[in-house]
């Protein structure tokens, strides 16, 4: 009868609301639990965040003149960080591909951490873009139907669309997995698997679109090279997992989180191949510029060798090369990557190397010398460093809190008191005592 159905619908809605609020409350509880080092870590991040907010408010009031960007170098530290972080976000897929495409079980359980990392990375990307635009109060101009998005002509418009879509996909999958695990259920395969498989081309997509942002500009020969998109993917696939490998080892040490050694070694091996590709593509680029020796060589020369007495970036260029080669060596030799010290050095080297060459190493040489031959040597101001540190602190804070919630839940150590309806036939897990 109609009346009964209506009653059922409201009952289900109420039930769902109860379960969701239980999940939310559970999360809050988890976040608040922690030992001394946790508290110190949070406080440290809090200080950075407050400093960043203060620096940014000065920037909003006085304008982007507080950065070192000028007409000659109109993009700088913020956009460099944005580009690097899009790569990190795309790297969640490095875990996904072996897990789902090759059905490699040891990695399956940890895919969610890649997704959480992707969510934090995209959040940081969006923040970096917000602090970089001259009129943050006009951000809504990008959102149809309030504003006007110049799609498909502008690649930035594409970036807005794909980044937000990728963010949503990861958010849905991660929330769903955790929510179900919290209530003692396994995630719904028909929801998760398609979305996760979709996230593979999406991850490649977001980083390709970001590469196309630069690639499509005929005015900037350093960027206007077909190699840019493949090179972005290659460097992304090393940098993201580098963070995750370190995080997994930390979790393994401080919680009952389990991850097989072979999973970590496999990821390191995949990173080695990605780094090889990255180095190869850089080498190909360098060959083309130096051998053909056209006017376009100027930008590559400025980066690696300096130009006309301007050498600010040269040490960074060679540091990046050294770090990348070191990381490649450490990961490609199986006996080396199995040694924990060397593995972690490799992770740090990858992260630092790719951070340099994809952040400042991409943006600044692309814009120096400028289109009319002028060299303005850019390096960030204190304001930019403070704002960037604040944004990274927000990202780290988010990731910390997410891990604080996700690890206990996925390990089954933390469950909600509310029972889920057993409509799908799977047995519920009773709530553990102690909460």
């Amino acid at each position: 009868m109609p009346h009964e159905n209506a009653g059922n619908t409201t009952q289900n809605t109420a039930e769902t609301l109860r379960l969701i609020s239980g999940f939310a409350r559970g999360r809050l509880t988890l976040i608040r639990r922690g030992n001394r080092s946790y508290g110190i870590w949070l406080a440290f991040l809090g200080v950075l965040i407050v400093s960043g907010i203060l620096a940014w408010s000065g920037q909003v009031r006085h304008g982007l003149g507080l950065t070192a960007m000028r007409d000659q170098v109109s993009w700088g530290f913020y956009i460099g960080n944005f580009t690097f972080l899009v790569g990190v976000a795309a790297a969640a897929v490095v875990l996904v591909i072996p897990a789902y495409v090759y059905d490699w079980k040891p990695i399956r359980e940890i895919v969610i951490y890649g997704e959480l990392l992707a969510i934090c990375a995209i959040t940081m990307c969006l923040m970096f873009v917000t602090v970089d635009i001259g009129r943050p109060d006009r951000f809504w101009h990008l959102i149809p139907p309030l504003g006007h998005l110049n799609f498909p002509s502008s690649i930035l418009a594409w970036d807005v669309v794909v980044l937000n879509l990728y963010f949503l996909v990861n958010l849905i999958v991660a929330s769903h997995i955790l929510y179900r695990a919290f209530h003692g259920k396994h995630y719904m395969k028909h929801v998760v698997v398609p979305l996760v498989l979709l996230s593979i081309p999406m991850a490649v997509g977001i980083h390709t679109v970001t590469a196309f942002l630069y690639n499509g500009l005929a005015a900037r020969p350093y960027w206007n090279s077909s190699i840019l998109a493949p090179q972005f993917i290659a460097s992304a696939f090393c940098s993201g997992p580098a963070i995750l490998l370190v995080v997994f080892q930390v979790l393994r040490k401080f919680t009952s989180f389990e991850i097989k050694d072979e999973a970590i070694h496999k990821i390191a091996e995949l990173m080695a191949y990605a780094m090889f590709l990255n180095l190869f593509l850089h080498g190909a680029e360098a060959f083309k510029e130096f051998y053909s020796n056209t006017e376009h060589l100027l930008y590559t020369r400025y980066w690696y060798l300096g130009l006309g007495g301007h050498h600010t970036l040269v040490p960074y260029a060679w540091a990046a090369v050294f770090l990348n080669v070191l990381a490649f060596a450490l990961f490609i030799v199986p006996s080396w990557r199995r040694r924990w010290v060397l593995l972690n050095i490799g992770c740090l080297a990858t992260y630092a190397g790719v951070y340099i060459e994809k952040g400042m190493g991409l943006i600044i040489p692309g814009l120096t010398p400028d289109t009319l031959g002028e060299i303005y040597e850019y390096y960030p101001t204190i304001t930019e460093l403070r704002v960037a540190a604040g944004i990274f602190a927000v990202g780290f804070l988010l990731f910390t809190l997410m891990l604080k919630v996700a690890v206990p839940i996925t390990l089954g150590e933390f469950r909600g008191k509310e029972k889920m309806a057993v409509a799908d036939g799977s047995a519920g897990v009773p709530a553990l005592a102690g909460h």
Binding site: T13, R70, S74, G134, L142, P145, S153, S154, L298
Partner: protein, 292 residues
């Protein structure tokens, strides 16, 4: 409590309120402020009136904002005689005065490059900061560069919000109220023609030019991009741009490409003409030529 959630009227009320709220906000934003690109005449006039009132309030100056539309049958083009330019920079400062460019921080829409006659047009060895006692210097020639008003403008292609576009008479314009200051257009421009307001622009009150155009030289706010507009406030009223009139050696020419009898057509048909960075296929409407 149980009754509230179970009550069908509750959910229906929630839904109705939610739907109404969503509908209202959609209508409000859809009818609300949008970019000036497609603004109908009546709305444009109203927005311009608001602009004038705001200028009166903020700058304490009576700025007149024109909404002159493109003249039909006109495609503006510019020609600059490289055999005559002596690099005196009077065009730079005439432009600054005419177009309300910020004095501090300094914004110049025109940049003059000193080049070596032996090397020819070569931007890698050009110097915009020359300051000899007198010009022209021996063995040097001069190239002023500003917005080329391209026929295939890369800046228009990349703007994420559509705040810059090419008008029917060929001038590439910016809606200063819609620009979000992302500076993608500045990365895309091959001629360094676009400039950003890194902080609040400042002009001494007595130097503000009050004859402005809503897409041209009206005073700009912080955080938006600006550039040469072929003095849209003058050219749509039939006059020459300020730089053309001030040049003491007559190196600058301006006119309508579609007029067979214009100076521009004469130059293109009779003189050695070149454009900058031709291989980028931007098809600039700013021609450099040698009259001799």
């Amino acid at each position: 409590m149980e009754t509230e959630i179970d009550d069908p009227k509750f959910t229906r009320r929630m839904f109705n309120t939610g739907a109404t709220a969503a509908g209202l906000s959609f209508i409000m934003t859809a009818c609300g402020p949008k970019r000036l690109y497609e603004a109908p005449q009546a709305l444009l006039r109203q927005r311009i009136q608001e602009m004038e009132e705001q200028y009166k309030e903020n700058l304490d100056v009576n700025v007149k904002v024109s909404d002159a539309q493109p003249i039909p049958g006109v495609q503006f083009a510019y020609a600059l005689d490289l055999s005559r330019c002596i690099g005196c920079r009077r065009c730079v400062y005439a432009c600054v005065d005419e177009n309300n460019q910020s004095r501090d921080p300094q914004i110049h829409w025109i940049k003059v490059f000193s080049m070596d006659k032996e090397k020819g047009v070569d931007f890698t060895n050009a110097d915009p900061y020359y300051h000899p006692e007198t010009v022209p210097e021996d063995g040097h020639f001069y190239i002023p560069v500003a917005c080329q008003q391209c026929e295939n403008p890369p800046c228009v292609k990349v703007c994420p919000t559509g705040a810059t576009w090419k008008e029917k008479d060929g001038i590439v314009v910016i809606d200063y109220d819609w620009c979000i200051g992302c500076r993608y257009c500045m990365a895309a421009c091959p001629y360094g023609a676009r400039h950003f307001n890194w902080t609040t622009p400042s002009i001494p009150k007595e130097q503000i030019n009050t004859n402005t155009h809503y897409l041209g030289n009206r005073p700009r706010p912080q955080g938006v991009v600006e550039k040469c507009t072929f003095c849209i406030q003058r050219t749509r009223a039939g006059r020459y741009p300020a730089c053309v009139e001030v040049c003491p050696v007559g190196a600058r020419k301006f006119g309508n490409l579609l007029d067979r009898n214009s100076e521009i057509r004469y130059i293109i048909e009779h003189k050695r003409v070149l454009v900058l960075k031709e291989e980028l296929n931007t098809v600039p409407k700013f021609f450099y030529f040698y009259a001799t």
